[in-house]
Each structure stands twice: as structure tokens, then as C-alpha cells.
Symmetry: C3
Subunit: 355 residues, 3 copies
């Protein structure tokens, strides 16, 4: 385990660009980070959401990363910073430096012909790399990855164990693939035949993953039938997600765990698909759209849509519908009672009215 470095609050403030509320505390040593509930006097925590302010009273942290101009009666030193949550992430980096890759090619790695390797590449045990694969500078490939022929991996990519890149898959720079990710397996394309069988359509396209994408464990992005399935720069894909052939995902999109997209659907920039969302094929999901958990998207969405339910509806309507649906059994009873009352009223109508 990497040792957490120790430093004093003055050094930490300098590193994070923070202002220390109690200059006399600059020499106080801290050696780690923790949540607001769990931090000890030797640890730093953060407060960015005002709903947790009440936790400050019990907080034992040695210092707290807080927004500029934040004030409190709590006694511990504050580290004022423009973006406390970001500063907290950087503090984690500082106290938990990743062990440096060894920049070696393990002797058991199998490299095909015509492979090109950048500077400072690390390749783990039993990695198999096909012909003409290109690996950029500072690429780290953990044991048991398999890279098929003609794949291209940009600079500073990190592939965890058991990742597969199929033939001709292209990764940009700084792509992170967690364990077991599969990029470029065949799309699910078959011609339905008159006898009920299915004739396989060769999937000869590929997958392109742009810069700064992270794809988490056991997700799978299928190769396109003819062209490319594309994941846009900065997008983050959680575990067990399925992106079908010919889909395109825009930039900085968020696909939460167990999302599934059917073929040829286009997801815009900054879209958020929450957990277990599914989308039908051949749709366009406009930029900045948000689908709440388990939404089934079955029609295209204009930019900025917020949807829920299946079939998808406006999120506000969905919330009203789900509140209303709980009243449905009672509504049915009251409706039948009302029908009876109306029948009674009808039978009681003054007969002269009909004359």
C-alpha cells in the first residue's frame, strides 16, 4: 500500500490554492483525508453542500475545505477555496499517490508484429497484443488484457486487467478502462429469414473512444456494423453498461450503471442517463437531457429534456403520475360510488321535467 505523505496545513493550503483561516495553524500536521463524520484531528475534510453544515459541530477534522467567505463558529481551521469538492479530490490525490508504473514490458507479454510502443509504456503479465497495434506514451496495461490487431491506444491511457480491445478499436489520450471492459465486440445484427432463423451481418466497423473518457468495470461498447460507434471526449460510463453498434455518445455525457442503448441511438453532449435507463434504437437524445433512473426512452428527445418513466414522459409529469397512481385503487372505489350516486340522481329526476 502506498504510504500517505504527511504535510502541514500551510503546505496543503499552498498546494490547493486555499487560504488558511487560522494562520497560526500553518504548522499543524495532517496525514490524510476523510469524510466529515469520520475525519480525525490528523485529517482534512470538506464542506461544499450547505445541508451538511449541522455536521460541523461534531466534526473532529484537523481542517475543513470550505467555500470562499464561508464562516462558522466551529473552532477548527478552515481552508477557503473556490471549489471545495474539487480541492478535496486533489487532496486525495496528494495523500494517496498512485504507485508509479514500472515502465517495463513483462517478459510473458506477447506482442504481434509491427507493434509500435511510445515512451514509458508499462505492459503487465500475459498481456496479448496483436499485429500493428500502436500504443502511445506512458500507456499502462495491466495483466490479462487482450488487444486485437490494428488497435490504437493514445497517450497516458490506463487499462486495468482483463480488458479487451477488439480489432481496429481506437482510444484517444488519457482514457481509463476499468477491469473487464470490452470495446468492439460484434454488434447484434442479424437478417431475419423466412424460416425464422437469423443470418449474421458481419460487423466490420469499429469503436472510437475520444480523450478523457473513463469506462468502468464490465461495460461493453459494440463495434459498428460499417462505420464506428463513438464515445465522445470526457464522457464517463459506469459499470455493466451496454452501448450497441452504431451509437454515438457526445462529450461529457454520464451513463450510469446498467444503462443500455439499442443500436444507432445518438446521445448528445452533457447528457445524464441514470442507472438502469434503457433507450430504443435510432433515437436522438438532445444535449443536456437528463433521464431519471429506470427510464425507458422510446422516442427522440429535444435538447434539455428531463424525462422519467416508460414510455418516457416529462420528468415533472412523471412525478405527478407516480404520485397519482398510488391513489388509483382508491379512485376506482370512489368512482364506482359516484356512478351509483349519479344513477340514483337520474332515477330521482322530477318526472315533470320530461313532459
Amino acid at each position: 500500500m502506498a504510504h500517505s505523505p504527511s504535510m502541514n496545513l500551510g503546505e496543503l493550503a499552498h498546494y490547493l490554492g486555499a487560504t488558511l483561516s487560522h494562520p497560526e495553524a500553518a504548522q499543524v500536521k495532517v496525514s490524510g483525508v476523510a469524510t466529515i463524520e469520520e475525519a480525525t484531528a490528523a485529517q482534512v475534510t470538506f464542506l461544499s453542500n450547505s445541508k451538511y453544515i449541522s455536521k460541523l459541530e461534531q466534526c473532529q477534522a484537523g481542517a475543513i475545505l470550505v467555500p470562499e467567505k464561508f464562516t462558522t463558529t466551529a473552532p477548527m481551521p478552515l481552508l477557503h477555496v473556490a471549489h471545495p469538492y474539487l480541492a478535496f479530490a486533489k487532496a486525495i490525490e496528494l495523500f494517496h499517490p498512485a504507485p508509479p508504473p514500472n515502465q517495463q514490458i513483462h517478459p510473458t507479454a506477447v506482442l504481434g508484429s509491427g507493434v509500435t510502443l511510445g515512451q514509458g509504456v508499462t505492459i503487465g503479465a500475459y498481456v496479448v497484443i496483436g499485429d500493428r497495434v500502436q500504443l502511445g506514451d506512458r500507456v499502462t496495461i495491466h495483466p490479462h488484457c487482450v488487444i486485437y490487431d490494428d488497435a490504437v491506444v493514445g497517450n497516458d491511457c490506463l487499462l486495468h486487467s482483463h480488458v479487451t480491445l477488439r480489432e481496429r478499436v481506437q482510444l484517444g489520450d488519457r482514457v481509463i478502462l476499468q477491469n473487464g471492459v470490452i470495446l468492439g465486440a460484434d454488434g447484434y445484427g442479424f437478417v431475419p429469414m423466412a424460416d425464422g432463423s437469423h443470418y449474421k451481418i458481419p460487423q466490420v466497423g469499429t469503436v472510437v473512444v475520444e480523450d478523457d473518457v473513463e469506462i468502468q468495470a464490465l461495460s461493453t461498447i459494440d463495434r459498428a456494423t460499417l462505420t464506428e460507434t463513438r464515445i465522445g471526449a470526457g464522457s464517463k460510463v459506469d459499470n455493466l453498461v451496454m452501448v450497441a453498434h452504431n451509437c454515438t455518445i457526445g462529450k461529457n455525457a454520464i451513463l450510469c450503471a446498467q444503462v443500455g442503448l439499442a443500436g444507432s441511438t445518438h446521445v448528445g453532449n452533457n447528457v445524464i442517463l441514470a442507472g438502469q435507463v434503457g433507450a430504443a434504437g435510432h433515437l436522438t437524445i438532445g444535449d443536456r437531457s437528463i433521464a431519471s433512473a429506470k427510464t425507458g426512452i422510446n422516442n427522440s428527445l429535444p435538447p434539455g429534456s428531463q424525462v422519467g418513466g416508460y414510455p418516457n414522459m416529462d420528468q415533472k409529469l412523471f412525478l405527478r403520475v407516480t404520485a397519482a397512481v398510488k391513489q388509483l385503487p382508491q379512485l376506482l372505489r370512489r368512482f364506482r360510488a359516484l356512478e351509483t350516486q349519479v344513477e340514483t340522481l337520474k332515477s330521482q329526476r322530477p318526472t315533470q321535467d320530461n313532459h
Copy 2:
């Protein structure tokens, strides 16, 4: 990357059994296939769905695969064929021939005792094959597959990287397993104990996969408790699908991505389960049934059923229900208004009626 062969339209028509509308174009060279929107003059495309006819006007393709007797004012050569979509799939095969397997056993492959190998078998780096495994002719096994003892693989099977076949799993002929597929892991079977713990029931059955099945990336078919879990001939299973122990799937079934079947459920022939469908255990889903996306099937279905929703209902009813449910908040308001009106009417009844 495999080079796309080039040929002229006369040769292509001959190969596909097509009739060329403009015999004078027989010498025109084409070198690939593309969609109707993207095809260039050197590429062939296809039209099988009449809703895309309007795209013909903009189409730049060198030739178009169309149904017999199809006519158009568009100027490019037509290739008349009985089944344009099938012909297109075959044209992709023609222009993108798969690289031939090298028919070698990689020196790092570990083979157990008593393994039998057919003719022309290809085994990639670091493949591990247990004792008494049988591999048929022309089997191709990509790197990092693990085959446990006593498994049987038929002729012309293709296993991509990181596939696992557990003990005694049987594959028919021409089975394709995409990357990371796991066949025959233990079923989820436990005896509930009085103290709340769960006693594992040994899963000593197996999985049988019949001819011409394709299973896509990261899907998992569990072994039966005692007998066999079976995937019928010609069925196609998409990514991240879960088939539990003791299930049987009929012939030519379609299980789309992220479908999950609980234990001992029987799926008939030609059934289609769309994405993210779940089915409870111990059900029978009749032949040719179709479940729309995200359906939760919790009772058995007669042949030819079309269902949606959860709990599943007839698909037509489901569509009416999902349309109606959006009106529910408004209905509640109108209902309360109507109740008030009826109260008013009751209070206004002529008093003599009660005498």
C-alpha cells in the same frame, strides 16, 4: 486490417444472384458497402424498407440492392434481388473477408490430458484447456479463454477472448461466443436455513448450447442444478444477458441486451425478448411470443403472446394504459370536481321527492 477486394458490378451481381438494371454498368468498379446516406460512387448500398425511398434522391451510391420489380427514377444502377437486406449482409462478407485463422496452437496454450483436437484448430496465446476437452474441426479460440474439464466444442465454433466454458459444457456446431461470455457458472441455488443463512446447493448439471447460436459479450448462462440449461439452435443472445439455472431457450429465439431470466423458465421457439426484459422463474413463454423492452414477465404466456409492462399485460392494453396513465393527474382533479358537482346536485334534489 483485411484489404477490401475490388470488383465490378457484373461480378457482384453474379455473386449475389442479382439482376443488374443497367447492363452497361457491369464494368463499373465497386470496392465496398455503406449505408444509403454515406455510400459513395465506389460503394454499394441497399434499400429494403420503403420508408427510406425518399433517401434515394440524395443517394450517391454506385449501385443499390433493391427488391425484385422495384422501380425508381433515380439514375444509379439497381441490383434486383429477392432479399436485399440479406444480399447486403453477403456483400459485407465479400468486401470484408475475415482474416483466416492461423490454424496453430500457440506455444503458451496449456492443454490438459486427453484433449482431442479436430482438423484446423486455432488456439491463441494463454488459452487454458482442461482434461478430456473435445474440440471439433476448424474451431478458433482467441487468447485468454479458459475451458474447464470435459467440455465439448463442436465444429466451426469461434470463441473470442476471455470466454469461459465451465466443466462439461457442450457447444454444438458454428457457435459464436463474443468476448467475456461465461457458460456454466454455478446457478444461484441455496437452501434457506432457520437462522437466516443460506446453504449452497451444489450445481452439478451443465449447459448445452445447440448449433448456430451466437452469444454476445459478457453474457452468462448458468449451469443447471442437476440436468442442463439449454440454448436452442439458432438463438441469438445479446450482451449482458443472464440466463439462470435450469432454463431452456427454444430455437431461433432473440434475447436482447440485459435480459434476465430467473431459474427454470422455459422460452419457446422464435420468441423475442427486447432489451432489459426480466422473467420470473418456473414460467413457460410460448413460441413466437414477443415482450417489449423492460417488460417484467411474471406469468406464463401462451404461444404468440405480445406483452409489455410489469406485471406483463397484452401489448395493446399496455400501450393504452401507458397513454392513459399520463392523464391520471388531470383525471384526479376532474374527478374531485365531479364529486363536488354531484354533492351539489344531491343537496339540490327537490325536497318533495323524499316525502
Copy 3:
């Protein structure tokens, strides 16, 4: 394939602590176990659920495991036992003994520095084990597992092929991991930035799996951001399940296939989450709660809750709602008719009432 031992009913009764109803049958040989429908005269079956009593008439089994004091007119020998289903599981163990592990370190296994191995450890081909990893006694690791630095594996653990344990992951005793399980991949944590990008929060915590847990194929438990994601003793996790960072699962919980938990959700003891259930983050799901299939849990649940639907509601209400919702299209029609009738009644009010 392991040979099934043969024994007589007297020996079997002795082993299972059962009482044989027909002492004269003690010498009858049996050689296996089967379901009540499929058992032959040489096989033993079981009856624990009274709804299957009618199947006894057709049953061909050589003997049946039944509850104490159970009586029947069926002629075959009965094996009276306190818990027939448990006895059946033990009979399967008896007739299908797992092949003993070879207790060897395969020469291709790569072990880091400072690895400690217990007694009787078995390590398969191409296993990669990082530095300072600790393996307890009688651990079995199948081919192609990858264990990162500083992981700890307790006694009698079984890891099937392609399992990954990330850095510092800890397994208790008797943990079973089916094929392709990934423990400790990075959690999905990012700081949203003003420009729409996402800044990765280092995930420096780990995963702790307590004693007697089984996790099935292709499930993934993410490491905590700072502390630990924990799976409590005796819990069983089915295939393709996603447990996000910082979650805790209590003891003896059941997470069925394709369940997904968002981050920092706490699941109590003896909870049952059926297939495809999803839970939002930062929730507490009380002990002994049960969520039916496909439930979307979006608020915390007190102990003993039974819920269904999305958003989750009480299971009994959910059943009434799902029955009522099917009547909604008809209700809308009847409601409009009733509105018309009330309008008519209003127009027919005796005019003198208003004077």
C-alpha cells in the same frame, strides 16, 4: 467427470440423519439424485413443498426425502428427515463430490514479492498475484485470475477463472467467487466542473467481503472512495449485479441477478432484492426488507418493509395499483360518460330551485 458413488438406502439414511420408512429397503442401491419428475428407481428425490404432493403418484424415484411424520399411499421408501431440501442438497454433495484441488502452484503463475501462501493452496495457470498478497489455507484459484497488490484472501476461498481482486481487497473465509467477478474496481466518482467536464475523484478505499459470501458470475463491487465497500457474512450475490462505492450489505442478504445499487446505500441483514431491482444512493434499506423484481427503491426503508414498483411503494399497494392500472383506459371512458351525465343532470335541475 467425477464418478457418482453408489450406496444403499441404509447408508444414505445414516449419512443424512434420516429414518427409512421401509427398513427392508436398506440394501436398495441408489447412485444419484434427481427432481421428482425425472428421478429413476436408482435415484433419490425430495418433497418439501406440499403443492408437489400430487406428483408423488407418477414419481419413479427409488426413495424420497420427506418431512418427519409425512405419510403417503405412494409405495416407494421414504426418508424422513427434519429438512428435506437441505438433505437433498447434502445428497447432491454426496453423489457429486467436487474433484479435489491439486494443491499445486502452476509453473506459469506469476507471484509478486512478499506473497504469503497458506497450506494446501492451489493456483492455476496464468494466475497473476501482486506484491504482499496473502492467501489463506486451502485457497483454490482457477486460471486467469488477477490479484492486485496487498489483497488478502481468507481460508478455503474458491476463485473461478477470470476473477479480479483489486488492490487491498479483503476476503474472509469460505468466500466463493464465480467466473469474471470484479471486486474493487474504481467507484464512479467525479467532481462536476463548470465547463461540463468531470474531474475524477481518486478511489482509494477498498472492498471487504466477509465470511461465507458467494458472488456469482460477472458481478462487480466497486471500491470505496475513502473507506470500504462491505459485503456482510453469508450474503449471496447473483450474476451481473452492481454494488457501487461505499455501499454496505448486511449479513445473509440476497441480491438477485442484475440488481444495481448506487453509491453509499446501506442494505441491512437478511434483505432480499429480487432481479433487476435498482436502489438510489445514500439510502438505508432496513433488515429483512424485501423488494420484488424490478423495484426502483428511491427512499430509505424501515426494517421489514415489503416493496414493489417505481418509485417503491408498499408491496400490497403495488399489487392493487398494478391491478387497477389495467382498468385505467376503461375508467377514462366511463369517467367521460359520467361527466356527460352529470352535465345533463345539472341542465335538468328544476328551475324553481334557483328561485
